[in-house]
């Protein structure tokens, strides 16, 4: 049985609770044990690294130190959490001076980080640690004919791991194929969703969201699959704002990839947090008769 240390991150507690639920449901089905870190803290999000780098590293290192005690790889479902933890782990490995400072601070908490943690994004577990056959074996309701735009966002492959293609990766498509869906060729799959610009530079962010939605429509997708709470919010929640700003009429479903997998696994939609969206999920995905 595969076992990971699980770092849900703040978003999954409230805003992205459906991501949290669907993650737990689908991994349970696949026999994967996610052990939530004890007493984890915020990853520092986007902003903290620009305010106090050392403290931000320490913040992430605290989670890493807790994870190190479990001896497991740590998995983060949020792309920003993943990126922060991954970079922190990488920097601490190469910068002895930084490691010393950080460990000095961690000592206050009786913690120590020795550089032994492997950080993974949740999607890597599905894409690399599981074979397509393992996923296929759990599929009871293949999403046949459903055209999905795999939206990677800008952070998942940004710290390049090994030789993987960072310009046109294909692993998300692989997961979608395994659950019977049809991944469309989505040219902007690696583009930024605007991230926190939605607060600081609203028009710019809305333009980015508009481009992503338009490209999904042009690609004849029926739904966008995401792997990050921030992407999900920008693409889904801000659609009405985009429509107001640009005179468009998007009403385009956006779902976490784990929700799509869960549906294919025959998990009841409610358990996957479906029903809380701003844009209704495709009726074909949740046919009548299923709760």
């Amino acid at each position: 049985m595969k076992e990971y240390a699980y770092f849900p991150g703040c978003s999954l507690e409230k805003m992205a609770v459906s991501y949290h639920q669907s993650t737990l449901e689908t991994t349970k089905k696949l026999g994967i044990k996610l052990k939530e870190l004890e007493d984890w803290n915020c990853c520092g999000a986007t902003t903290y690294f620009y305010i106090d780098e050392l403290l931000a590293y320490t913040l992430c290192a605290r989670n890493l130190a807790i994870a190190e005690k479990t001896g497991l790889d740590v998995v983060a479902p949020c792309s920003a959490c993943y990126k922060n933890m991954f970079f922190t782990a990488a920097h601490l490995k190469t910068d002895a001076d930084l490691a010393e400072h950080v460990n000095f601070a961690l000592e206050e908490d009786n913690l120590q980080y020795n550089g032994g943690v492997n950080v993974k994004h949740l999607i890597e577990v599905f894409a690399h640690d599981l074979t397509p056959e393992e996923i296929k074996s759990k599929v009871t309701h293949p999403l046949e004919g459903v055209r999905v735009a795999p939206y990677y966002g800008c952070q998942i492959v940004r710290p390049q791991k090994g030789k993987e293609d960072v310009e046109q990766p294909q692993f998300f498509e692989g997961i979608l194929e395994a659950i019977g869906a049809t991944p469309v060729n989505y040219p902007l799959k690696m583009r930024c969703c605007g991230g926190s610009l939605i607060i600081s530079s609203r028009t710019a962010a809305l333009t980015m969201v508009r481009n992503l939605l338009k490209s999904a429509v042009d690609s004849q997708a029926q739904v966008i699959a995401t792997a990050c709470p921030m992407c999900q919010v920008n693409l889904e929640v801000y659609q009405q704002q985009v429509n107001l700003e640009f005179g468009t009429d998007f009403n385009f479903p956006v779902m976490y990839f784990t929700q799509l997998i869960g549906l294919a696994f025959g998990i009841p939609p409610k358990k996957l947090g479906i029903g809380k969206e701003f844009v209704a999920v495709l009726p074909s995905l949740v046919p009548a008769g299923k709760k």
Binding site: D165, E167, P187, L188, K214, D218
Partner: protein, 669 residues
């Protein structure tokens, strides 16, 4: 030391180049006094040792003082070792008894502290003197030369080389892997700047090579094994079964007309067109005999068909034909195995293979070629639509740390040629996206200006992405080229109908194996290494092996032809001499001390070490030995010695450099 050597030390001022930093007078006086015990009988300093007066000074001393060894402290041996060796030879002293010590490149030019530089010069001379005592008089090795030559690769460089040698009256074996000679040049439509039709200038050469009485053409063949050494190579060549008897075939073409099996041609037509299972790659192929592609032929797959055999008027089809191994003897070899085009799939953001209307340069060559799949019509992938806007991306896979750091040399000119052809034939608007425009040969810059006048757009910037994600009005159905115009600092989105990736050149996928087979080396990039990048560009470290064309590095047709001819000229010179002189810097095995442990056997990359099973000893073939000395160091029994770089020479030089050869008087603490 039984006999005391008489050594002369000559310290050069090199004008002020050396004397400005090193106190040459002090050095020479010091050498005369302190190196006396080593055998120094005279030490002089002189303004320019390399001048004829300087050389005469040495020669005079050799004659009058009976010098048996000479040490010259001057510039790098790479500059003047030959000069001073010849000077010694002129005075009847074996040239190998002269040692050049570099006190210019290694002292005066690189140090500012005059005292330290002078002391270092003394140490270097002391090392040279200690070493020269153990030099031996050497004679170059004489090896006879077989007059035949092997040319590997039938592209333009190989063809040129073969014709030059054959015209001079000597036998040439021209080996080509594909069914026809011609190489990449046969795929091209026009050649840049002159816009000559490539086939028009290449075909006569191919025919000439094919018909030449002194050229044995071995197409559809590959070199399996190379043994021997300069002047005396024995080469095994696998002549793959064509399934066609060459002596019966007339090349009439009925077989490929009747063959029912169509195959996508991934070689000559780069996937843009088809051929039959029995085929010649292109109409002007030399030789004219077809080949049956056994992987795709219905008979070989299913056991029935034989349409070609039925219709062949001369019964030339031979399904049972087998590969033949030919063993030939040659004196010299030219490697002209060319290049592979960069695989544009690797740059995923340019969408080649994903976006239909992204083409590679070789695809465009076929597209624009009158004999190509579209009859020379420049159309989009649908086979009919003429593009209105075409973008040409330079440096695809070149000058890029992620792929190849080097410049592929031909892409700028190739792109300009494409721009011209597109413009001329379709009237489309053409954009060239370039990093720098490089036009460094006769008529090239002028061609660039011609393109500028034709109205081609030039955008300086590396293309970030080619995408079909439309955003703005007017972009529908187009490919969007995203690029920063680095001259204006603006981000551009250029909608085009067709994008052409001007792919760079890469070493052949098997370049390293080929190099190993022939005992030469590849650079880290994979291009074969020439003996000297400037002064000896077509020979290699292995005597008798020459390189020509793109196998040595990216270059265009004129440069390839030049190298082919140059390699041929070098070989003709060698053949005319009938024998070759080899540097006597060689290793040899003392047969009494060798106990056949076989540690040295595969230490030599030139296969110069032979193991005799009967006597259980190893032996170095002096003609194959390149004198690196690795086996000398590797021999656990100390049974291998190196002429010109013996242990004694080097150990003594260490002693000298550390001044251990100088009797310590009161210096001992």
């Amino acid at each position: 030391m039984e006999k005391k050597e008489k050594i002369g030390v000559y310290v050069c001022h090199c004008g002020t180049n050396i004397a400005g930093v090193v106190n040459v007078g002090e050095v020479s006086t010091w050498a005369a006094e302190n190196l006396k015990d080593q055998g120094v009988v005279i030490a002089r300093d002189y303004k320019f040792m390399c001048s004829s007066l300087g050389q005469e000074l040495i020669q005079k001393d050799i004659k009058e003082l009976g010098l048996t060894r000479v040490v010259v402290a001057a510039c790098s041996p790479h500059l003047h070792e030959a000069t001073f060796r010849n000077a010694c030879k002129g005075a009847d002293l074996n040239p190998y008894l002269c040692e050049l010590v570099s006190i210019r490149e290694q002292s005066s030019w690189v140090h500012t502290d005059k005292v330290a530089a002078t002391e270092k010069a003394k140490a270097l001379i002391s090392g040279g003197v200690s070493r020269v005592v153990h030099h031996e008089a050497l004679e170059p090795l004489h090896v006879p030369i077989h007059p035949a030559t092997l040319v590997v690769g039938g592209g333009i460089a190989g063809i040129q080389a073969a014709i030059e040698i054959a015209d001079a009256g000597f036998q040439v074996y021209l080996v080509e892997r594909e069914p026809s000679i011609g190489g990449h040049m046969a795929q091209f439509d026009k050649t840049f700047t002159t816009l000559d039709c490539s086939a028009c200038i290449l075909t006569p050469k191919m025919v000439q090579a094919g018909n030449h009485p002194n050229i044995t053409l071995l197409t559809y063949s590959e070199v399996e094994k190379v043994d021997g050494y300069v002047g005396n190579f024995v080469v095994s060549i696998r002549k793959r079964a064509r399934s066609v008897n060459e002596k019966d075939c007339t090349g009439c073409g009925i077989c490929w007309e009747k063959c029912p099996k169509k195959v996508v041609d991934n070689v000559y037509e780069v996937g843009m067109g088809t051929r039959k299972a029995v085929y010649v790659p292109f109409p002007q192929a030399v030789p004219k005999y077809p080949v049956i592609d056994r992987e795709n032929c219905t008979y070989y797959i299913k056991g029935t068909c034989k349409a070609c055999e039925k219709f062949c008027p001369t019964n030339a089809i031979n399904f049972a034909q087998e590969d033949e191994i030919l063993n030939i003897e040659v004196g010299n070899v030219i490697l002209a195995t060319g290049y592979d085009a960069f695989d544009a799939h690797r740059i995923t953001q340019y969408g080649y293979g994903r976006l239909a209307n992204v083409f590679t340069s070789l695809e465009f060559e076929r597209l624009s070629n009158a004999a190509g799949p579209t009859g020379g019509n420049i159309v989009m992938r649908d086979g009919k639509t003429t593009p209105k806007v075409v973008g040409i991306v330079h440096c695809v896979g070149s000058r890029d740390k992620n792929y190849n750091e080097y410049c592929s040399a031909i892409c700028c000119m190739q792109s300009l040629k494409f721009a011209h052809l597109v413009h001329e034939r379709t009237g489309a608007e053409v954009y060239n996206f370039y990093i720098d425009i490089r036009t460094p040969a006769k008529g090239y810059e002028e061609f660039y200006h011609r393109l500028l006048e034709e109205g081609t757009h030039f955008v300086r910037g590396k293309v970030a992405e080619i995408s079909d994600a439309v955003r703005l009005p007017g972009e529908e159905g187009k490919l969007i080229i995203q690029v920063e115009d680095t001259l204006t600092g603006n981000q551009l989105r250029v909608p085009v109908d067709m994008a052409i990736l001007s792919a760079g050149l890469e070493p052949r996928a098997d370049a390293k194996e080929v190099a190993k087979k022939f005992g030469i080396s590849c650079s880290a990039d994979g291009w074969l290494i020439e003996r000297h990048p400037k002064l000896d560009p077509v020979s290699t470290v292995t005597e008798g092996i020459y390189i020509a064309g793109c196998v040595q590095g990216p270059k265009d047709i004129p440069a390839s032809v030049v190298q082919g001819a140059a390699a041929a000229a070098r070989i003709l010179g060698k053949i005319q001499q009938k024998e070759v002189l080899l540097e006597p810097v060689r290793a040899s095995v003392n047969q009494d001390q060798c106990s056949g442990c076989r540690i040295c056997n595969n230490v030599c990359p030139f296969n110069a070490i032979l193991f005799h099973e009967d006597t259980m000893v190893s032996e170095v073939n002096p003609a194959l030995c390149q004198g690196c000395g690795t086996c000398v160091a590797a021999c656990p029994a100390g049974a291998i010695s190196g002429t010109g770089f013996s242990n004694l020479q080097i150990l003594s030089q260490i002693d000298g450099l550390l001044m251990l050869n100088i009797p310590r008087k009161e210096a001992v603490v």
